[in-house]
Symmetry: C2
Subunit: 411 residues, 2 copies
């Protein structure tokens, strides 16, 4: 990202770093262990809000409720309440009633109107929420809020399911001479695929920004970050990304045309990209992050389709797990993506190691490739020499642990 120097990374930052935001989490009894399973983000002032939702036909009840809140409250939110351990998906009318009840309970607890509150859920599909535990837990949320990173940490823990690590990101940037902060938290580990799968992400900022600009920035950024990750090709019923802007940084309202718009957008994208990469790296059972870059496609959309096909290939993922420089599987995936590809002009690199040139095998040092593939991050470069389109996708390797985790998830 060429504009990386325009923003500052805040290593210990979080969703509560932007002015106006508090967060917290607690255990209310949805998870069998004592880990947090309920959390909230709270903004001291009405925050400009935007959201994107899963493309799955079977959208879970909380998504409907959140969509209604944002629409009926003039694009603003004050709080988000989130539970893990139960997705409240495919739960019918009772599930919808439960999502509304969650929203009402949170509004009561925080003394807000119902439509100032968004709701999100993640976990097992098709089981009704134990509403007594959820409602009781929500009454404890205001006390669980804490200014600063401790509350954000408790929240980041509360949204996890099979995740091994919490995912946070934070940057600062100068807008009109005012320091603006953008923070993010996310969860996601399995059922991850381009269109926002079992993934929840929350981005907060103290920037003043027009609602329309925030919504369009969120959509554009999602296309090149969260929608470019895949763990297993499955798309959840519950995915949601919510952005909230408190406006307390004191800058003049951001929108395209503002002199600092491009750098704000780059900072926003950085936060989303690091969260997306963290989700891919923490893919169920994963031992390494895989990045696929495609250049020379006819269009960016075509490059995206090819990158997603390669990153989603079970055979490529298994080969990365085995540190096997099996580029044949990479080119086979490129060739089945359904996109225009010249079969005679494809180059493939594993990191800096050229393995295919003009669609022909290149002699390379297998030992060097083995060492590279055993690393923490594996980058696969595909150059098609067929046009100006480029894209990057992120995923992970396919391992024994992926099978173990998903063969016994409910039990």
């Amino acid at each position: 990202m060429g504009v990386v120097s325009l923003f500052q990374i805040v290593p210990a930052g979080s969703i509560t770093s932007p002015k106006g935001f508090q967060a917290g989490g607690l255990h209310c009894g949805l998870k069998k262990t004592s880990r947090n399973d309920l959390g909230a983000i709270y903004c001291e002032v009405p925050a400009t809000a935007a959201a994107v939702y899963t493309t799955n036909v079977f959208q879970a009840a909380p998504l409907k409720v959140t969509r209604e809140s944002i629409a009926s409250n003039n694009g603003q939110l004050r709080a988000v309440v989130v539970n893990s351990g139960n997705a409240n998906a495919c739960t019918g009318r009772q599930g919808e009633a439960d999502a509304y009840a969650m929203r009402a309970a949170a509004a009561d607890a925080f003394r807000l109107a119902a439509d100032e509150v968004a709701v999100a859920s993640t976990g097992v599909i098709g089981e009704l929420l134990p509403m007594d535990r959820v409602a009781h837990g929500i009454t404890g949320l205001p006390a669980a809020l804490a200014v600063g990173d401790e509350g954000a940490d408790q929240f980041a823990q509360a949204i996890l399911t099979t995740d091994l690590v919490k995912k946070e990101s934070c940057v600062t940037i100068t807008v009109d001479g005012h320091e603006v902060t953008i923070g993010g938290a996310a969860k996601g580990s399995g059922m991850i695929h381009p269109n926002m799968a079992t993934m929840l992400a929350f981005v907060t900022t103290d920037a003043a920004i027009s609602p329309k600009a925030l919504q369009s920035l969120l959509g554009e950024t999602t296309d090149v970050t969260f929608n470019m990750i895949t763990v297993d090709g499955d798309t959840s019923t519950n995915d949601m990304l919510i952005a909230m802007a408190s406006g307390l940084a004191g800058n003049t309202e951001l929108a395209p045309g503002h002199p600092d718009w491009d750098s704000f957008a780059a900072a926003f994208r950085y936060v989303c990209q690091t969260l997306a990469q963290a989700i891919a790296r923490d893919g169920e059972g994963a031992t390494r992050l895989v990045e696929v870059t495609v250049n020379g496609a006819v269009t960016d959309l075509s490059a995206q389709a090819i990158a997603k096909t390669v990153i989603g290939s079970s055979l490529v993922k298994s080969a990365v797990f085995g540190a096997d420089a099996n580029w044949g599987r990479i080119i086979a995936a490129v060739g089945r993506a359904g996109e225009p590809v010249n079969p005679d002009t494809v180059d493939i690199q594993l990191g800096d190691i050229l393995v295919l040139s003009g669609s022909q095998p290149v002699a390379f040092d297998e030992e060097e490739a083995l060492e590279y593939l055993k690393g923490d991050t594996v980058v696969i470069h595909v150059e098609l020499h067929n046009g100006p389109g480029h894209a990057t996708a992120w995923g992970c390797d396919l391992t024994y642990d992926y099978v173990r985790i998903n063969a016994a998830y409910r039990t």
Copy 2:
């Protein structure tokens, strides 16, 4: 299949059961073990031939050569030569020259014209064929041919890669009072996906049939059999299905409109379907066959897309391995297939056990479901109540062994 009584299954039958066909196989040194890796089918008379090929952009060299043979020889073939252990794919001009050399060597050995011979390869991608071993092996093929099932068995062994079992099928049917036999052999275990992935299949018959009718029957049958199986979502560079008809049964030429056409087509489909199911059951690492039927879609094509999405879901496949009645993953896959689905009218059954009705969970006996899911074959029924479209797809579970096999395939 309602017309199943119109044909007779021949339990010990094979590709050499139809009149006029011989087959054989031997070890020429492409596989590290002593297993067969080279085989041939030979027809005593010119056989009407038809073929379908992978849709992958990177078609392996043998496919080009086979296409040329069938086109230049007026739709007829006398022999097919097949090697396993090396796919001769992504091998450039040398690979093409090698495929032509294989064809020429087989033509010499069998005293045929070059364009009477088809070539097929399967195995690792991107390595040149050791042509000295291949050429030497081909000189031994005429002696390896044996009339009867022993030669067919040697051939069926010779085309395997990571397959655990050979795949054969045979039926007889009466056409104009003449006994007509249809036999088949196939290989395929990994890189299997709807469009003919690392799969080779050969169907022989002694029926007299018009070339045009054979080609269109082959295409239509492939769409509902071989193209409805998936192991891992990957589509190989080498898939090919070749049908050869010797015409020695003595029937009047079959074509649509012939009084026995429908029953011949049903028998042909049965052979292809049993081979396709055998490939899915023998999917890399699989412990059980999974069948997904979709009814009530808006069209058959839409039902096919939904069935393929469910059968291809890593999460569904992992749940089947774990004998977990996790229907939430099934409905999530239905919902992301990109097809018209009414989110309120979906029923799901596991075998005879109803688990979802009108998109709502149904109380069911978890123990009974566990027992069912531990069986040899798992059938998932999806009823959409949205139209007349239906389809069936076949696949397998996702297991530790799939990962083990594919993490270390080349080494």
